[in-house]
């Protein structure tokens, strides 16, 4: 149902570390791979080997160049997927009840059997987290790998979202934000994790960790103190005389 729960027992979500993400796109591939074979309609591609390939993805990694006030520009890679907002505008606009937020863990999901593919939820999402699958005509979005995280047929270490499991630099973390002692809550507290577009009052669950401050390269020579030698004695007298001649 499209009424948002007033409270969810857990707040499952992701922390994305912008400091360690190297933009390898492994999370994009792992996400597409996992979500292509289990939950709901497959993520279709249109014209995949043609001149204008296009397809449905639940996770996209942008690359930005950021110029700080001091120092060289940095490349910051920016994964973007559903933030599983507490006040998810995509849920309340849905006319059919296909979009919903789970009371038990806060995951925002789409019941594809009830989705008419009107696209209004994708319009309502400020983050571009939802994509209408062009083959199935239903809305696709990140499920937080709901078919992995509770799946007892998988080894315990695999019971986390595919993007988190695959990330080679540990830039993605999965956990419960309702628990202040969880790994994700601690990371957010330690590193100053932040919300995307908080002014839109969607209260995202997922948080982003800002890149750490880069060291400023030492430009002065390490020998600088040794170069400033004050001559004394004969050398000092010579220095003074020569200075007068010059």
């Amino acid at each position: 149902m499209t009424q948002l729960p007033t409270h969810t027992a857990k707040k499952l979500g992701l922390v994305v570390d912008l400091d360690t993400c190297v933009g390898c796109q492994a999370c994009v591939t792992a996400c597409k791979g996992w979500n292509d074979q289990g939950y709901g309609a497959a993520l279709s591609d249109q014209n995949p080997y043609g001149a204008d390939p296009s397809g449905t993805f639940l996770n996209r990694v942008h690359s930005y160049q950021v110029q700080p006030d001091v120092g060289a520009a940095q490349i910051i890679n920016f994964p973007r997927s559903c933030l599983h907002c507490e006040d998810a505008p995509c849920v309340t606009v849905c006319p059919t009840g296909a979009s919903y937020k789970r009371t038990e863990d806060g995951i925002v999901l789409v019941n594809e059997d009830a989705c008419i593919g009107c696209g209004l939820c994708a319009w309502a999402c400020p983050y571009g987290a939802r994509e209408l699958d062009q083959a199935a005509g239903v809305m696709k979005k990140c499920t937080l790998c709901v078919d992995r995280i509770y799946n007892e047929n998988l080894p315990e270490e695999d019971r986390e979202p595919a993007c988190v499991r695959t990330c080679p630099t540990n830039a993605r973390h999965f956990g419960d934000f309702a628990d202040p002692d969880s790994n994700v809550s601690k990371l957010v507290a330690e590193r100053g994790g932040y919300d995307l577009m908080p002014d839109l009052k969607t209260k995202p669950t997922n948080k982003y960790l800002p890149p750490r401050k880069k060291d400023i390269p030492q430009e002065a020579s390490l020998l600088a103190p040794l170069l400033d030698i004050q001559a004394t004695g004969f050398a000092g007298w010579l220095d003074k005389v020569l200075g007068k001649l010059g």
Partner: protein, 293 residues
């Protein structure tokens, strides 16, 4: 936002249709016999035609009936209810007019109010979306209701309501344009703020996440040429409101005058609705570094 023909036709035609039905229901014009059949028929055809045009952009239109279930939160669901209830409320009056049954017109009066309520729910589908700053204000319902009033008055041949409608429309279009033109900037959203990278420095796009446009870009990131905007706004104002008002005021109140004025108004309405979608920028464009200027 992409100006898809299905949503342009849906909002324009159903708005005009419900406008005409409102004037018929309220009894401003009370045709009898076949004249009633064609008047009411035109109203129903426009309203239902517009609504069915909206189903063309659905991915799975066979499940459209499910859209009636979520009226508690969803404006789209409320619109589905409002339009069906309105069309049903007016049906007895339409039958009575056509067949000369002389039934009481009370459901027509309620239906006339419901016509405006229906267009209000349509407008709120757009006005509720905070992610599209140009739409997220009161000028959207004001504009769509003014279009409904004007279109309905012209199609039902009412001089004074048509003039009032045209003036209301000019004001509403002006408010929507001026408020909309600064709405995005007023939010103060930039690429740096949307990503939170403004805490590091000034951010620009280095590389897109994909090499060719995806659903998001096709649906929500539509860049309009400035010259088209400059040409279409005068058309929207002129053909939508100014010319119809002048025609109705200057020419004798003949059905042909109203037919001509209504056709011209329809052209202006289509132009303004194209702009309504094409000029509306979604904040997701920020992540792609794409903002139409």
């Amino acid at each position: 936002m992409t100006p898809a023909p299905s949503v342009i036709l849906f909002t324009v035609l159903s708005g005009m249709g419900f406008g005409l039905l409102a004037f018929l229901g309220a009894g401003f014009v009370q045709p009898a016999g076949w004249a009633a059949f064609f008047h009411w028929g035109l109203g129903y055809a426009l309203a239902v035609g517009g609504l069915s045009a909206a189903t063309f952009h659905l991915g799975n239109p066979q499940r459209a009936l499910r859209a009636f279930t979520q009226w508690q939160t969803s404006w789209l669901s409320r619109e589905a209810w409002a339009s069906v209830v309105t069309l049903l409320l007016l049906a007895p009056v339409a039958l009575s007019d056509w067949l000369g049954l002389g039934w009481p017109r009370i459901s027509g009066l309620i239906g006339a109010v419901a016509c405006f309520a229906t267009v209000f729910t349509t407008s709120m589908i757009y006005a509720q979306i905070a992610a599209v700053p140009r739409w997220n204000n009161w000028t959207v319902p004001a504009m769509l209701l003014a279009f409904e009033l004007t279109g309905g008055a012209l199609l039902s041949g009412q001089v004074l309501p048509a003039l009032i409608g045209c003036i209301a429309l000019i004001l509403a279009l002006y408010a929507h344009k001026t408020k909309g033109d600064v709405a995005f900037a007023k939010r103060g959203q930039t690429l740096g703020k949307a990503t939170g990278l403004d805490r590091v420095g000034s951010a620009t796009v280095f590389e897109h996440p994909h090499t060719s446009p995806n659903y998001l870009m096709r649906e929500m990131i539509y860049v309009v040429a400035r010259k088209h905007v400059a040409r279409l706004w005068p058309i929207a104002f002129g053909l939508g409101a100014v010319v119809p008002a002048l025609l109705v005021a200057a020419l004798p109140a003949h059905p042909l005058t109203f037919a001509l004025a209504a056709l011209i108004h329809l052209t202006g309405a289509l132009a303004s609705r194209w702009l309504f979608f094409a000029q509306a920028e979604h904040v997701v464009g920020l992540y792609y570094g794409q903002r139409a200027v």
